[in-house]
C-alpha cells in the first residue's frame, strides 16, 4: 500500500476513480423521496399543522445537513475510522442508552429520539458504528478473523449493539437490521459457505414452525408478535386492528394498477394509511405512479447494489471493501424488508425505505454512509478497476 503513489507511469491528474453513477442514483432517489414525501404528507400536514410543506421542509433540512456531512465524509480518509472504531462504538451505545434520560424524546408512544439541538435517532448512528466496528475487527484480526473465535468476536460486537437497541429503545426492527448487517459482513469475511446455508435453512425451518403455530394455536391473548404473523397470513381477518395498516397499503398498491392514479392523486394518503410519508410510502408510490413508478424505484436500488458491489470488489483494501459491504447490506436489507412488509410478503415491522421515507436521522446517516462508499470509490485507481 505504501507504493500507491509512487507509480512510475505518468497519468492524468484525475487518475482516481469516483463513482458518479452511484452519486447520481442517490441524488435521484433523494430528490424523488422529497417529492413523494411532499405528495404523501401534504394533505395531513395541512390539516394538522396548517402547512402542507411541514414534513418536506423538515426532510429538506435533514437532507441538506446530510449533504454537508456526506461531502465531509468523502474528503476525510476513511482509514481514520479504523482508529476511532472503538470510541465511535461506545459513544453510539451511550447515545442509544441516553434515550431513557430526560434528553430522550417520545414520539407515537416510542421513546427513540434524542434532543441534541436537533432531534436524532441514535440507533441510526449505531448502525454505522457496528459496520465500522466489524470491519475494523476483521482487519485487526487478520487471518484470525476467519477462525471460529474471530467470527464470534465480530458477531458479539454486532449482537451486543442490537441488544442495547432492543432493550433501551424497544426497537426490534433496528436490532434485527443490526444483526443482519453483522451477519452479511461475517459471511463475506468467512470463506466458508456450508454453515451459512445451514443457517439459512434453519431460519427457514424456524419461520415455518412459527407460521404453523400462528395458524393453529392463535388465541385472543396471544402476544402481539404472534398476532402480527397471523395478521400477515390473513390480513382481512384482522382488518380493524393488527393488519389495518397492511391492508390499507394493499388497497393503495392494488388501486394503483398499471398506470397509477397520477402524482398527487393518491386517495389512501388522505388519512387511510397513517403517516403515509413514513414506512408505507412505497404503497403511495405504487398508487400514484403505478407499476412503472414501482419498478423504477426497485431498479434504482438494484443499481445501487450493483455499484456497491463494484466498489467493494475494487476497494484498495479489505477495510474499505467491508465498509462498502456493510453499507450495501444496510440499505439492501432495509429496502427488501420495507417492500416485503408493504406488499405483505412478510409480517409487519417498522422499517423505513432508505432515501425515500420521511425521517431526518435516517436520511442524515444514510447519506453519511454513501459518503463512506464514495470515499472508498475515490481510492480506487482507474487502472485497477476491473
Amino acid at each position: 500500500m505504501a507504493a500507491r503513489n509512487s507509480r512510475g507511469r505518468a497519468r492524468r491528474k484525475n487518475e482516481y476513480f469516483f463513482d458518479y453513477t452511484l452519486l447520481t442514483v442517490v441524488i435521484f432517489l433523494i430528490a424523488f423521496g422529497l417529492l413523494m414525501i411532499y405528495s404523501a404528507s401534504s394533505y395531513n400536514a395541512n390539516l394538522n399543522f396548517g402547512d402542507p410543506k411541514h414534513f418536506v421542509k423538515s426532510q429538506l433540512f435533514a437532507t441538506t445537513l446530510g449533504a454537508v456531512v456526506m461531502v465531509a465524509v468523502i474528503t476525510i480518509d476513511y482509514h481514520l475510522l479504523q482508529k476511532f472504531a472503538v470510541p465511535i462504538y461506545i459513544i453510539s451505545a451511550v447515545l442509544v442508552m441516553l434515550v431513557l434520560t430526560p434528553l430522550g424524546i417520545e414520539r407515537n408512544g416510542a421513546r427513540r429520539w434524542l434532543n441534541l439541538g436537533i432531534s436524532l435517532q441514535p440507533a441510526e448512528i449505531a448502525k454505522i458504528a457496528v459496520i465500522v466496528m466489524v470491519a475494523t475487527l476483521a482487519c485487526k484480526m487478520g487471518r484470525y478473523a476467519k477462525s471460529f473465535k474471530g467470527i464470534v468476536i465480530m458477531a458479539v460486537s454486532g449482537i451486543l449493539m442490537a441488544l442495547i437497541i432492543g432493550v433501551f429503545n424497544k426497537n426490534m426492527s433496528t436490532a434485527i437490521i443490526v444483526c443482519a448487517i453483522t451477519a452479511v459482513m461475517i459471511f463475506v469475511i468467512d470463506p466458508d459457505y456450508k454453515k451459512y446455508f445451514i443457517g439459512a435453512l434453519l431460519v427457514a425451518v424456524a419461520a415455518g414452525i412459527v407460521i404453523f403455530i400462528a395458524k393453529t394455536s392463535l388465541t385472543s391473548d396471544s402476544g402481539f408478535r404472534l398476532k402480527r404473523i397471523a395478521a400477515w397470513l390473513d390480513p382481512t381477518a384482522f382488518s380493524s386492528d393488527t393488519s389495518f395498516q397492511t391492508l390499507q397499503g394493499l388497497y393503495a398498491i392494488g388501486s394503483g394498477s398499471i398506470f397509477g392514479k397520477g402524482l398527487g392523486q393518491s386517495m389512501q394518503k388522505l388519512g387511510f394509511i397513517p403517516e403515509s410519508q413514513n414506512d408505507m410510502i412505497f404503497s403511495i408510490i405504487c398508487e400514484e405512479l403505478g407499476i412503472f413508478g414501482a419498478l423504477v424505484v426497485i431498479f434504482l436500488y438494484v443499481l445501487l447494489i450493483w455499484r456497491c458491489m463494484v466498489i467493494a470488489n475494487n476497494a484498495p483494501d479489505l477495510f474499505g471493501a467491508l465498509i462498502v459491504v456493510g453499507v450495501m447490506g444496510h440499505f439492501a436489507i432495509q429496502v427488501i424488508m420495507n417492500i416485503a412488509v408493504v406488499t405483505n410478503t412478510m409480517p409487519n415491522t417498522g422499517v423505513s425505505l432508505p432515501f425515500i421515507s420521511y425521517g431526518g436521522s435516517s436520511a442524515l446517516f444514510l447519506m453519511a454512509e454513501i459518503g463512506l462508499v464514495l470515499n472508498v470509490s475515490k481510492s480506487i485507481r482507474l487502472h485497477e478497476l476491473g
Binding site: 459471511f187 392494488g254 388501486s255 398499471i258 388522505l270 419498478l295 426497485i298 456497491c308 484498495p316 479489505l318
Partner: protein, 567 residues
C-alpha cells in the same frame, strides 16, 4: 494490489446477487398485486373512500278504485352545511336564517361548528329548498327525498296505515303491502378522506332510487268520505265512544269504505297520544282488530240455518209471552209483554228472542256448531289488512242449552264487524262466502299492471233458494219491521238491526248496529254501522239504521251511475 482475495470477492458478488434476486422477487410480487389483485383491492379501497348518503325511494302510491291518490309522496328536502366547504360564513348564516325562518343563533352555531356535515333543517318544503339551491352557496347541501303524504288527512287512516321514518309501512295497507309499495333506495356516494371530510375534486356518484309500485284499492273516495261524515255526525249526536262503518260489495267482497271513528292523522301518527298503549288504541281498527257480540244481527245466521235444516218454516206459528225458559234460566224478549202469536216470518221482523231461542234449540248444539263452522265463522275472513281478530266461540262440547239459546240471538260469543258483514253477504248473495278485501291491482311506475289480486269465494254456504228467501225476509224487516228507519225512498233495502249490551251486562253500555243491503232483490252493496256506547236511545233500529239509510240514499244513485258491477 488488493489485500483481500477472490474468495471475498466471490462472496460479495453472491451477496449482491442474492439481494438483487430478492428485489426482483419483490418486484414480481408488486406486479402481481398491481395487475392481478388490482380489481379486488381497488374495489375494497373505493368502499372505504366512499361515504353513502341514502336517497329515500318514493313509495308507491295507494289509490282508490277510481285512481284518486289516498297515499302519495311529498318531496321534502334536508338542508345541511359542510363546514370545510363554506367560503362565506356570514352570507350562509344570513341566507339560511331568513329563508328557513330559523333562529339566527342556532344557525350560526351549526354553521360555525367544525364537523363533516351538519344538518340545519329536515323536511323542508321543496319550494323553499329550491330557493336555497338556486343561490348555490358553497358548503350548503340540499338533499331531496320523499315523505309519505296522505292528502285526505284522517280519511281511511286505519285502513291505509302510515309509514315510519325509513318509509317502511307500520300498520294497515302500508305494512300489508309493504313489499309492493316499497321502492329501492338510492345512494349518493361521496369520496371522503379517512375522517369523512369530502374530497371535492373526486365528485359524487349517484345511484338513483327506484319508486315503489302503485296499489289500486277497492276503496271509493266518495263513499269513504260520505261514510266518514255520517259516522262523525252520529258519533257527536250520540256522544258515542266510537262509530264503525263498513261498506262492501256482498257479491265479491270488495270494500268500498271502512271507517272507524275516531280516526287518526297518518301524516302525524304519533301526535295526540302520551303512551304506547294510547298509540295502539288510537291506531286500532275496530272493524277488524276487535270482536264484539253481534246481537240480533246474528239472527240472520240462525234464521238461515234453521230454514236450511228445515227445523221451521216461515209460516210456522209461534207464541211469545215475553220470555222463554231454558233449563233454569228465564230469557227475556226485548218486548217484555211479549209479541203474542206470530209466524217465523213476523218473528224475524220483530227480532223476537223467544222464537229464535226455540228454533236454535231445535237445531241442537251439534248442528248449530257445524253450521257455524260451515259458514266459515270459526276462521278469519282473510281480509288483506293486518291484525284481524279471531272469533271467540264456545268449544263444541261445552255448548249447553243455555249457551245455545243465547247464541241463537247473537250473544255469548264474539266476532269482528267484518266477519258479520262477510256472514251476511254469504247469506244474501246466493251462498258464497266471499273474501273481503281492499287491494285490487298493483302496477309499476309506468302504469303497467303487474298483478291483479284474486280472491277465491267459497260456494254453497246456503242454497240459492234459502238465500233468496232470506233476502225477502230481510227486506220485510226494513219495509215493515224493526228496521223501518233504514228505508230509502225509491230503493229496496234489506237489513237487520242489533242492540247488544256489552259485558258486564249491568253496565248500561250498549253496542248498537245495523247491517243493511240494497237493492234487496239483487244486493250490490252492503253496509254495517256499529255505534259503540251511545248515550240516550241505544236501539240499533233507532240510531244505526238511519245512518245506513242516509248512506244508501246518497251512494245508491252514485253506484248506479258509476256502474262498478261488471268486473
Amino acid at each position: 494490489m488488493r489485500d483481500f482475495g477472490n474468495k471475498v470477492r466471490k462472496k460479495i458478488i453472491l451477496l449482491s446477487a442474492v439481494f438483487s434476486l430478492c428485489l426482483t422477487g419483490l418486484a414480481g410480487r408488486t406486479i402481481y398485486l398491481m395487475v392481478f389483485e388490482s380489481a379486488y383491492y381497488s374495489k375494497m379501497a373505493r368502499d372505504v373512500h366512499e361515504r353513502e348518503r341514502d336517497i329515500k325511494a318514493q313509495r308507491g302510491e295507494i289509490l282508490d278504485r277510481n285512481g284518486n291518490v289516498l297515499a302519495g309522496n311529498k318531496p321534502v328536502c334536508t338542508i345541511s352545511v359542510i363546514h370545510n366547504q363554506i367560503t362565506d360564513e356570514e352570507k350562509v348564516i344570513d341566507t339560511l336564517t331568513s329563508i328557513l325562518k330559523l333562529d339566527r343563533e342556532k344557525v350560526e352555531k351549526r354553521v360555525k361548528k367544525v364537523s363533516s356535515i351538519e344538518r340545519i333543517m329536515s323536511n323542508v318544503d321543496k319550494e323553499i329548498a329550491d330557493k336555497i339551491e338556486a343561490l348555490s352557496l358553497d358548503g350548503v347541501k340540499v338533499d331531496e327525498d320523499y315523505k309519505r303524504y296522505y292528502p285526505y288527512g284522517m280519511l281511511a287512516s286505519k285502513v291505509l296505515g302510515f309509514t315510519g321514518s325509513d318509509n317502511q309501512g307500520i300498520i294497515g295497507l302500508e305494512v300489508k303491502y309493504d313489499d309492493v309499495l316499497r321502492g329501492q333506495n338510492g345512494k349518493i356516494l361521496t369520496t371522503t378522506d379517512a375522517k369523512g371530510r369530502e374530497v371535492s375534486s373526486q365528485g359524487e356518484r349517484r345511484v338513483e332510487p327506484v319508486k315503489g309500485n302503485t296499489l289500486r284499492t277497492t276503496l271509493d273516495l266518495n263513499i269513504q268520505s260520505y261514510a266518514d261524515t255520517l259516522a262523525r255526525g252520529v258519533m257527536e249526536a250520540k256522544q258515542a265512544e266510537g262509530v264503525s262503518i263498513i261498506v262492501m260489495r256482498p257479491d265479491n267482497g270488495e270494500i268500498y269504505a271502512m271507517v272507524d271513528i275516531p280516526e287518526f292523522d297518518p301524516n302525524h301518527p304519533f301526535e295526540g297520544a302520551v303512551s304506547e298503549n294510547d298509540l295502539n288504541a288510537m291506531w286500532r281498527n275496530r272493524c277488524i282488530n276487535d270482536t264484539y257480540e253481534p246481537g240480533s244481527a246474528f239472527k240472520v245466521f240462525t234464521a238461515a240455518a234453521a230454514l236450511s235444516h228445515e227445523v221451521t218454516t216461515v209460516s210456522e206459528a209461534f207464541h211469545c209471552p215475553g220470555y222463554v225458559v231454558v233449563e233454569d234460566r228465564r230469557i227475556k224478549c226485548h218486548k217484555t209483554n211479549g209479541h203474542g202469536s206470530e209466524t217465523f216470518e213476523t218473528a224475524i221482523m220483530n227480532s223476537c228472542n223467544p222464537v229464535f231461542v226455540t228454533v236454535g234449540l231445535r237445531l241442537g248444539p251439534e248442528r248449530f256448531y257445524d253450521t257455524f263452522q260451515k259458514f266459515g265463522l270459526l276462521e278469519k275472513t282473510g281480509i288483506d289488512l293486518p291484525g284481524e281478530a279471531a272469533t271467540i266461540m264456545h268449544k263444541k262440547d261445552a255448548i249447553g242449552q243455555v249457551e245455545l239459546a243465547t247464541m241463537s240471538f247473537g250473544q255469548s260469543f264474539q266476532i269482528t264487524p267484518i266477519q258479520l258483514c262477510t256472514m251476511v253477504s254469504s247469506v244474501i248473495n246466493g251462498g258464497n262466502r266471499v273474501v273481503p278485501h281492499v287491494a285490487m291491482e298493483a302496477s309499476d311506475v309506468s302504469g303497467n299492471s303487474i298483478l291483479t289480486y284474486q280472491y277465491q269465494a267459497k260456494k254453497g254456504i246456503v242454497s240459492p233458494e234459502i238465500s233468496a228467501e232470506m233476502r225477502r225476509l230481510l227486506e220485510k224487516v226494513v219495509a215493515e219491521g224493526g228496521g223501518a228507519k233504514a228505508q230509502v225512498a225509491g230503493f229496496r233495502i234489506g237489513g237487520k238491526t242489533a242492540t247488544s249490551q256489552t259485558l258486564p251486562r249491568n253496565s248500561g253500555r250498549y253496542i248498537s248496529s245495523f247491517v243493511g243491503f240494497a237493492p234487496a232483490d239483487d244486493p250490490k252493496v252492503l253496509a254495517l254501522c256499529v255505534i259503540y256506547t251511545p248515550k240516550g236511545i241505544y236501539y240499533g233500529g233507532q240510531i244505526a239504521a238511519p245512518v245506513v239509510a242516509r248512506l244508501f240514499e246518497n251512494i245508491l244513485p252514485y253506484l248506479e251511475r258509476m256502474n262498478y258491477n261488471e268486473g
